[in-house]
Each structure stands twice: as C-alpha cells, then as structure tokens.
Amino acid sequence: MNGGFLIAKCDVIDVSKLYGSGVAEVRALDAVSLEIDTGEFTVISGPSGSGKTTLLNLIGCLDTPTAGTILLEDTDISSLGERALARVRARRIGFVFQSFNLIPVLSALENVETALHLAHTEGNRREKAAEMLEAVGLKDQMKRRPTQMSGGQQQRIAVARALVKNPALVIADEPTANLDTATGAQVLDVMRTMNQKRGVTFLFSTHDPRVMERASRIVSLRDGRVEDDRKVEKPVGAANSGPSSQE
C-alpha cells in the first residue's frame, strides 16, 4: 500500500558540481554516483563542506550539475530548463528545511495549501491540506500562524506541506537541527511513519545521530565523494525492515 503516492527511483550518475573558476574553483561534488530506491529512508551524512547540501540541491532540482546525469523516475532532470525544473519541484519533490521556511503571513493550513496551488493540484485543496495536517497531528492548530507555534509544530507543518502533493521524493536538509531532542524525535517519528505508511521516499542530510539511527540507509560523503554507503538492518522506529509499500 502506498496511499496513491508516486514512488521514486533516483539515479545519480557521475555527478560533479563546481563552483567558481580558476584558482577560486571549488569542486563540491566529484563524480558521485548513487541509486536511491523506492521507499528508502536515506541519510546523507558527512562533515561540513563534504557536499551533502549540494547533492540534495541537485537531486531536488534546486540547482543543476556541472557534469553527470540525474534521473528521477527515468526523467533526466540534469538537462531540464528553469521552468521544467520548477514543474518537477512543484509536483514530484517535497522539501523540509532546517529553519522550517514557512510563510509567516499564512496560517498552517494556508502554508500547506500553497504547495497544492503551486503544483496546480486538482480537487479541494483546502480539504487535502487539512487532512495532511491532521495526519501530522496538527488538527487543532490549522488556523494558527507559524509564529504562534513551537518549532516542532512548525516543522510538522513543513512535513505536511512536503507530503500533501503526493511527491515522489521528500528532501529534508538538517530537519532536526533547530529542534530540541524530544521535539526532533517527534518530527522524525512523523516522517518515519509517513515513510512506512505511505511509502514516501525520504532523503536527509544530517549530522544528527537521532536521524541516522532511524535511517534505512546511510551514505557518507567526504570531500565531494561517496566514502561509505551502507544499509541499516534494524533502524530505530521501523515497524518492519522496509516501507509498507514493500510489505
């Protein structure tokens, strides 16, 4: 069961990313290859400057690689133009940011609805947004603005916003970095539950051991290269060894 969600399979093939030129040139990623399977709860780890965020930005269509190919559900997103990338982001990728990145003038419900507007989703957007907020445990907080809510609640809105449009892939960049231990664990549990119940593929960048212990796979980067790539047999919080879609 996958709840009608799209299922991602993302192939990163020999991807490099350079910034600057000449003596100021920085090689953020150096011929990285990676295959992310359907329903994975994958963590990209590594020290600062290892290329985690760059890799997530490229997979998330926020940036384009200098060399190499990225296939998302067999679409070569590395060769798409600005508008086509925006369309992929709108419909197939959800984002969860370290600083929540909610629109402060909008209510929780409107923030989630924004994702549906931009994805040009058909049907009753408000209803879908409300259902998703209920799913992340914010049924009674829908009308409140982000500034009136705790960090954990804000990050749950962000998770709801990422998931409401049935994305192929959710990219979460240090999602627990601004949360205390208990709240971070709660948010991770929400994401793990969504991963397991709905089979949504999650891709994290983090140093946070709480995230890593819940991951089904950990990819370590160092100096723009893949240093280690391992599956986790029994992740914390996992009801089963894999997502429910594979049950």
Partner: protein
Amino acid sequence: MMFFLKLSLLNLLRRYGRTTLSMVSVIVGVLVIILGRGTIDGLRESIIRGQIDAMTGHVTALPADYPTAGLSHPLENLLTLDDATTEWLNTNTVGWTQRLLFAPRVVSGMDAVRVRAIGYCPETDTRVFPRGDWNVQGTIPETDSDGILLTRGIARTLSLNKGDSVIVETRTHAGALNALQVPVAGTVSTGNPAIDGLVVFVPMPLAESLVRPNGQFSHLSLLLNRRADADNAAAQLQSLLGNTARTTTWEIEAAPGLEAQDIRQTFLDIIAMALLIMAAAGIANTVLMAAYERIREIGTLRALGLTRRGVMGLFVTEGFVMGLIGSIIGAAAGAWMTWKYSIQGIDMTSFVEQVGASDMMQDLPFSTMLYMNFSVSIIVIAIIVGVTVATVSSFYPAMVASSRNPADATRG
C-alpha cells in the same frame, strides 16, 4: 491568481507603516494630477467664459481698422446694419447686440481718469452678455438721464459712490469735444478683472448724446447655439458686412490667455511628474526592501515550484496593489474636491485684488469665480498613471528577487 493576490496583500500588511508611506506618495501624485488638471481646465474655462460673457460673445464684428488692444477706441469709421444682415442675425443667432466703445475722461472734482466706456443697448445687451456674476450697488442705467455705471476699480480711484455726479469728456464721432455732467447710477463688480479696473457702462441713449454716432456703433456681438460654430458664423457675417468690417471670435481673442494656460499646464504636468517619480522611487524602495527581507521565503516558494516569472509576478503584484489602493484613495479625494468646487466654485476676487493681479490681467478676461473642472476621464487617467507608475517601479526589485538561486535563497 486570487491566492497570489491574497499573499501580496498579506505581505503588504506585514509592514503596513512602510506600505502606507509608499502609498501616500501615490495618493499625493494622483491628487495633484486631478486637482491640477481640474484647476487648470477650470481656469481655461473661466477665461473662455470671461471672454464670451463679457467681451465678445461668440462672434464680434468691429470696424476693419479697429486697434486690437489698448485704450484707443477710434470713432471715425463706425458700423451700420443693413436689412440683410439684420435678418441673418435674427435668423442665425440666439441673440445679438450693438455696442459703442469710446475712451472718455471721467472727471470728479480735481481728479480725472481715462476709461473705456461701453455704450450698451439696455434692451438687447443681456441677450449676449449675461450679468449673473455682477454685483451692483445702485441701479443699472437705461436712459440718458439715469447716468452711468462705474466699475468698482474706477469708483474706488475717484472715491465715487452711487448718487454722486461726474463729468464725462469725450470726442464725438465728428471729432469735436463734448462733455456732460451725469449722475453715478451705481457701481458694479463684474468678477472680470479685464472689466472691473477700467470700464464704465453707459446706456446707449447717453452714449449717443456724448459721441453723436448717428445710429452707428463700433461693435456688433452675437451669441450662437454652440460656441464651436463661431468660425463659420464669423465667416458668414464677414461676407455680409464686407470690407468695412472685420469679424473675430471668442477663440481668437482668448488665445493669448489660453496660451498662458498651456504654459501653466506644462508646469503642473512637470510637478505631477516629479511627484510620481518620487512615488515610483518610494515604491521601488519598499518592494526592494521586501525582496531583501524575504529572500528565504522566495527560496521556499521557488523550492515549492514557483518559477522566476512567478516570483516577479508576486512582487509586481505588490507594487500594483500599492498603486491601485493609493490611486483609488487619491482619485476619490481628488474627485470629491473637484466635484465640490465644480459646483460651489472658488471666489478668487479678494485673492486677485490682494496680489494686485487685476492690473496685470487687464487684457486677460476671466471670471474671478473659478469653477474646477470635474472630469471622469482625468480621474481614470490619473488612476491608470498611478497604477502604472507603481507597477513599473516594482519591476526592478521583482527582478532582483527572482534572480536569486533557489538553493541559496532557501538558506536566506
């Protein structure tokens, strides 16, 4: 679309103080356009009205060699009416009248002043020259024994009031000197500086006693159904009167005054333009600051799938909304004021007297009662200009906002 409009409004309300200040500049710019245009167009109409109602009617015929300006009113070659012209006048005009202009000296004791005397036909003069704005102390004379009506400026110069008597000295049509002692029937303020400073009104019977024109006259003025027909009527009248006369229209005579209005109009347009440039700078600054403050939000919206054009649209919408609200407020205030003063009018008599403008305006006929021009088209144009300026000025900041790389922008 409604979603983004709502988002723009909410973003503007987020910094309502700054937004309000930016909108004030739009409000002022739009208000200046409407009030300035209303005033200038009102003044323009006032000049035209002053020319038609007090000087020429729609068309005036006068002797061919008559001087175009000044206090020289030659009496040698005067006009007469034949039957054909009279019939044409009766058929083709709303009203017509004859006047005899001459330049007597009015003497009171040891004081004397040269004036322009307008000899008028009591029965027909008001058919062409209405007296609605006249403020008369005393009576308007109709017979030679009634005396003369002094305009307020001359009455003040010679310290005369109704009931006093003066000596009027003039040359006759034949060139002889003539003088009569006549009573002052009253004093009048016509509301037209070109009249009030140097004219005395003399009923035609008394004018004939003074000038002896043998039934001839110096000016024939007529009123038409539409002032736009003046050129055509002047041409027809010219052909009837022949070479001994020349015809002129209100438009020709008012042209110098209207040209001055055009200069004022240009000056006002420049002021309005300067204000709108300031408004544009204010709005551009507001939107630019918003763009810098909201970099992370822009990045988030880009990450959610908003295109560069979408980001531009969001910020341009904010400029548009500011322009629209500011323009509507400015237009509402301007419309109310121009509507009010188009009906009520602004009495500029004391202002004109205080600044001594009546001397400067002796050759510029206009009514000192200024009625502003209420024009829906000017209001619509002002709103369009205000909205366009605000929208266009937000393009640059919108471009700045949309040019940010989404990956960088999400981190702020």
